[in-house]
Symmetry: C2
Subunit: 380 residues, 2 copies
Amino acid sequence: MDVFKFVSPEIIFGPGTATECGLSASRLGAKRVFVVTDRGVHASGWLERVLGSLNDNGLECIVWKDVSPNPKDYEIYCGVNKYIDNKCDSLLAVGGGSPIDAAKAVALLVSNGGKLSDYEEIDSITRPLPPIVAVTTTAGSGSEVSQFSIIVNAPEKRKMTIVSKSLIPYISIHDPQLLETLNNQAMIYSGVHVLTHAIEAYVSKGATPMTDLFALNAITLAADSLRLVKGGKRSTDLNQSMAMANLNAGLAFSNAILGAVHAITHQISGWLDIPAGMVDAVLLPHVVEYNLPANPLKYARIAEALGEKVTSVQNGADKVIPAIKNLFAVLELPDKLSDLGINMKLYPLLAENITKDICLVTNPMNIGLNDVIDLLGRAC
Amino acid sequence: MDVFKFVSPEIIFGPGTATECGLSASRLGAKRVFVVTDRGVHASGWLERVLGSLNDNGLECIVWKDVSPNPKDYEIYCGVNKYIDNKCDSLLAVGGGSPIDAAKAVALLVSNGGKLSDYEEIDSITRPLPPIVAVTTTAGSGSEVSQFSIIVNAPEKRKMTIVSKSLIPYISIHDPQLLETLNNQAMIYSGVHVLTHAIEAYVSKGATPMTDLFALNAITLAADSLRLVKGGKRSTDLNQSMAMANLNAGLAFSNAILGAVHAITHQISGWLDIPAGMVDAVLLPHVVEYNLPANPLKYARIAEALGEKVTSVQNGADKVIPAIKNLFAVLELPDKLSDLGINMKLYPLLAENITKDICLVTNPMNIGLNDVIDLLGRAC
């Protein structure tokens, strides 16, 4: 066993807990809260619930609801100006990964200055950030518990992955009621993203006994929940299981980091502005095939967590790719990059950006530019 | 699924990590560190390693090494004076549960004032505490990650259980090398305490899906490790497993709270000044018998985690008490309170104090004064 570190925000989980955001911000000393969200959340009606809670706790709030999916660096700079102009002292992020990542990026720049690309090295943040409370409205990104913020570098058309303990929200609120306004297709894409987080964290070079516990639990919860969503069995319990899968996967990957699927998905979903889970679904079987020799035992356990009966390490390792493909076939997910509308001519440039992504460092097999190009070719 | 909260300190785990305490304290803004430890730790030589790390990071330190096993309230008041007189701004606890609990109690009083008995209600702490870093030298108390501080009320001859999120150290360091100076018998008593933490947290009324993951993992790790320690198989790996069991059990019980074994053990170990694990071993089978009807499924899973082959819930529930008794017989632990030298005449007074212990609130079965007296009678 090697040395490891583990960090988690304070977690509040359960139906109705979104209304604890006001008290949570207040406990952290907030007076003027910068609320970061997007138009989808605003339209869903959940924003009112959250703002009511801030109001009930005597907090002033400035709402910034212009964050787009796959948030861009120039949006962050607008957010920074708005935060400073309004003399805010804290942040509340309400949404999926995009508003939460955007809130983290704003918090980073208002306290540490400079531009986002200054912080692409691990742990390059030196000054403390203002307190962030996150309320997740999806079960997908894990950003509400993670060290990650992913922002598009618009001039370079690539995603920047910023990783630091400082980016973990102080308090993370997981209210499964908020999943009620997500349609089944959105739930499937975000659920596949959760499953991919869990699988990549489990086999990561940075995996630890702590992250393994969360990752394996998340794989089972996510796979079981996804089958039920596809089967039209949405219920309060199912939304809770999905929220729990997301929380477990988030704690796993925040501490173990990820692998090649995420390095590739970051760039493709950023380029095409499509849901990450759609890209994950195409890539995961190919990346598992590439990585399998690094740790057959762990892949056998993944097969078991996906519901396969496993009789030996070899047997489990043989079953893991068919198990993933079967699940994705049931979920009717795309299985070719060409189905996503990606142009093969982009591959060399994409591959270049992919090799810069920090997630490649913890991929279980070493992977270079040619390997990435080869993987893209297989997934084509 | 109900609403739940989960809190964990930042965790640093692994051989050699004790020397990270200086950098850890420094990251929290410490300048003058109040080092809380005991004579045993001082004699073991580990204190020098820790002080070296503080020194290397340019921190001044004031060492208080007078904490006794089962620390008393009057000792804490001395510690408070020493902290204030020396103008300290932070604490480093180095030891088992006693120095860590003592450091928490000092941190509480220097920031919130008053006396310890003012804080026996859950979450009655209002002001923030100075930062605490904990380095555990045993694998037993879990105090380094927990919300608990247990201090003897000397005039009343009872233990006070103080519970608050504010008592969780900011950073908790688990260096398995520090277990090398613990003899096998001490390791067995502390390991039984870990196993009891895990079992009581798993069946607690406050258990959650998060704490269940840690608790069940800790039960298997602790039981397997205890058998190996008794078999004379001490090794680097075994010390690591024991440290991991302790960490997992600590995170489980800090968030799920405990039950009747702990409520009783707190008072008896405080009265007789003997290791908690020794008292746990006598009580656990009797308390499991009392609690079993509350949750046969969970007790069946405990039997499985202890290594039993379980074919049904009833089968597992039938096997759990024999499994615990067999393990304790292998470990040659006492199985009667009378073996510990406790006088039956004390029972009414002990029972009175036991019913005041906060751990009874989350015991899976409701339990009153007469039930406690009856349990003590059976364990006699």
